[in-house]
Each structure stands twice: as structure tokens, then as C-alpha cells.
């Protein structure tokens, strides 16, 4: 019983953290910061997937969400502009 409650509370915290960082990534004008916020969001979803008993999904997510996707986005920012303008 205690374990289930712990898992549920942890899931709630992690998905809220992910939501907050998603919002920050959307409103952030500095795109490098936005990418970092987005990968923090991926990191918290990673823990959610692990707790929901999807280790296969988590393994793919850790490489793509935290490694490959930010790298591709960084390449894009480097080739275009760092600051979003109106």
C-alpha cells in the first residue's frame, strides 16, 4: 500500500514538473534555454515511464529525448538564430 502511494505521489510530482518545463520551453525566447527546458521535461517523463513499468520505452527515451533531439535542435539553432523575435 505504501509503495503504491509513493509511486503515485512521485508520478504526480514528475508529471507536474514536466508540465511546468513544457510551459517554460514554449514561452522562452532564448531558444538554447528552451531546448534545455525541453530536455528537462524529457528527463522527468523518463522517470514517469520507468515507474509505469515501461523500461523499454524509457531506454529509447533517454537516448532520444536527452541526447539526440536536443543535439539536432542545437544544430538548427546554430545554423539560424538564437533569439526568437516577434
Amino acid at each position: 500500500m505504501f509503495e503504491t502511494v509513493f509511486v503515485e505521489v512521485f508520478l504526480a510530482i514528475m508529471s507536474t514538473v514536466a508540465l511546468i518545463f513544457t510551459y517554460l520551453a514554449v514561452v522562452q525566447k532564448d531558444l538554447v534555454k528552451a531546448i534545455i527546458f525541453s530536455s528537462v521535461e524529457s528527463a522527468s517523463y523518463l522517470l514517469v515511464f520507468y515507474l509505469l513499468m515501461g523500461p523499454d520505452l524509457a531506454l529509447a527515451y533517454v537516448a532520444i529525448g536527452i541526447g539526440i533531439y536536443p543535439a539536432v535542435a542545437f544544430f538548427l539553432v546554430k545554423k539560424t538564430e538564437r533569439y526568437e523575435t516577434e
Partner: protein, 277 residues
């Protein structure tokens, strides 16, 4: 502007509270679920059930068994979509790769970040290779598989490009051509494993299905389920190995092409502009 922010915050917080209430009131059942659905029960019962070999896939990892055996064609077509995207990327960057001038070759050490970062990157690189290989090649035993392992491996070239330069990869023979060859070898491996049961069936005069792993009623062909007392899961290990090579090389190829500097493309575009007029 402020009203817009307030509205979006209210919408976000409102939906958060609504979803939280629904989950807390157990609208979706307990999370994580404690009881199995019928389909999940079927896989749990049959994946490693050596009493009924018409339904088993000789692997203790049900997810890999579903991905490459029970629902194998889904994964096959997913892989082909992924590699169509990679091929499109290679086709767009169909240019002659820039070569290093002699001065740059001499100044090799001065490229990139400090020596501490470079040494740490090399150590981490070794760890990444080991971890990704174990994720991919133990895919039939533990969580993970070819795609996960390949994606983990692809983090290595990113680190090398960031810490040193693209030329550090080229010094280690990781360039466009070698990655194209490795990717093609991986895809060829997947293709061969898919038609391997047919070849065995022709040789032993048995009917067989495409992408068959273990024996099925009316098709008594099966790929080896164990090798020297290690569980190999028949075709699962071969498919994981091929997918690992193909995905790792495919991602690396994309990163090498993406890391070409903008000035290089501008030069090409300008020379084309002058040649057409």
C-alpha cells in the same frame, strides 16, 4: 499580452486539476495497473512457454518478442519509414564533403574544447559503446533492443563533434561512406533474417512463413532458440543486431551531415548561381 498569459495559465492549471481529479478518483484504474488484460495475459503466458512451442518465441523478454516476433511486420515497416527519412536526408546533402587543408591537419590539437573535456569524452565514449551494445545484444533477455541500443550509440558521435570536431570522427574512419556501408549492412541483415526461414524451408523441404521465428502449425521451421546454453530467441537476436548497426549508423550519418558548416553550403550555392547565369 498579460491577459493572454493569464488565460493560458488558467487553461493549463484547469486541465491539470481535471486530469488529476480523474486519476485520483480512479477513472483509469490503479496506476500502475496490477491486473493483466487478456492480451497481456496471452503474451505473459506464451512468450517463454516451452510446453506449447507453436505459440512461444523462445525469449524471456515479452516486449522484444512482441516487437520482432508477434508484431514483427509493424516493426519492419516502421524501420523502413525511418530509413526513408535517413535516405531523404542523405539525398538533400548530396555534396562533396569538404576536405581539411594541410594547416588544419597540423593544428589538429587546437580544435574543439580543452584537453580535459576531450579525454573525458573518450572515456565516456567507451562506456557508451559497451552500454549500447549490451542494451542491443541482450535485447532478447533484458529490456532494450536494437533501436534503443542504436539510439544510445548515436549519442557518441554527437559528443565527439561537440568536444572535438567532425574531423575527429573522420580520423577514426567514421565518415559518410563508411556509415552508409554500415547502415546498408544492417538493413541487409534485417532483410536476410526475414527471408531466412524461407531459405531453410527450401533446403529442408518444409513450408515456412516470412519472418517466422519458431515453429508454427504446418510450418516446422525454427531458428535456433539457444546457442551454447544462452537464450538467443531465434530471429530476435539477429534482428536486434542488424537494427543496432543500422540505427546507430543512420543517426551518425545524419549528424555528420548536419555538422557541416553553413558557410560551406553558401559557397556551393553561390558557385551554382554563377555557373547557371
Amino acid at each position: 499580452m498579460r491577459a493572454k498569459t493569464a488565460v493560458s495559465l488558467i487553461v493549463i492549471i484547469g486541465s491539470l486539476l481535471a486530469i488529476s481529479y480523474a486519476i485520483a478518483a480512479q477513472a483509469t484504474g490503479t496506476i500502475p495497473q496490477t491486473d493483466l488484460r487478456k492480451l497481456a495475459d496471452f503474451y505473459a503466458q506464451n512468450t517463454l512457454n516451452s510446453n506449447d512451442k507453436f505459440l512461444w518465441s523462445a525469449s524471456p523478454e515479452a516486449v522484444t518478442a512482441i516487437v520482432w516476433d508477434y508484431r514483427g511486420f509493424d516493426t519492419l515497416f516502421e524501420t523502413s519509414v525511418f530509413f526513408l527519412a535517413i535516405i531523404a536526408c542523405v539525398a538533400i546533402f548530396e555534396v562533396e564533403m569538404p576536405r581539411r587543408s594541410k594547416n588544419e591537419k597540423l593544428a589538429k590539437q587546437s580544435h574543439g574544447l580543452s584537453i580535459i573535456v576531450k579525454v573525458v569524452t573518450k572515456i565516456v565514449g567507451l562506456i557508451i559503446i559497451c552500454v549500447s551494445a549490451s542494451i542491443a545484444l541482450h535485447g532478447q533477455l533484458t529490456p532494450g533492443g536494437g533501436f534503443q541500443g542504436g539510439a544510445a550509440l548515436a549519442v557518441l558521435p554527437i559528443l565527439f563533434i561537440m568536444a572535438m570536431s567532425r574531423f575527429a570522427l573522420e580520423d577514426r574512419r567514421v565518415n559518410r561512406n563508411s556509415m552508409l556501408i554500415m547502415r546498408s549492412l544492417g538493413l541487409l541483415g534485417i532483410g536476410t533474417t526475414v527471408i531466412l526461414p524461407l531459405i531453410i524451408g527450401l533446403a529442408t523441404h518444409n513450408p515456412a512463413y516470412i519472418m517466422q521465428n519458431q515453429i508454427k502449425p504446418g510450418a516446422l521451421v525454427s531458428l535456433p532458440s539457444s546457442l551454447a546454453d544462452r537464450m538467443m530467441g531465434g530471429s530476435l537476436w539477429l534482428l536486434n543486431l542488424s537494427e543496432y548497426l543500422a540505427v546507430g549508423a543512420g543517426f551518425t550519418l545524419t549528424f555528420i551531415l548536419l555538422s557541416l558548416p553553413e558557410s560551406f553550403f553558401k559557397k556551393i550555392l553561390e558557385s551554382e548561381k554563377y555557373s547557371t547565369h
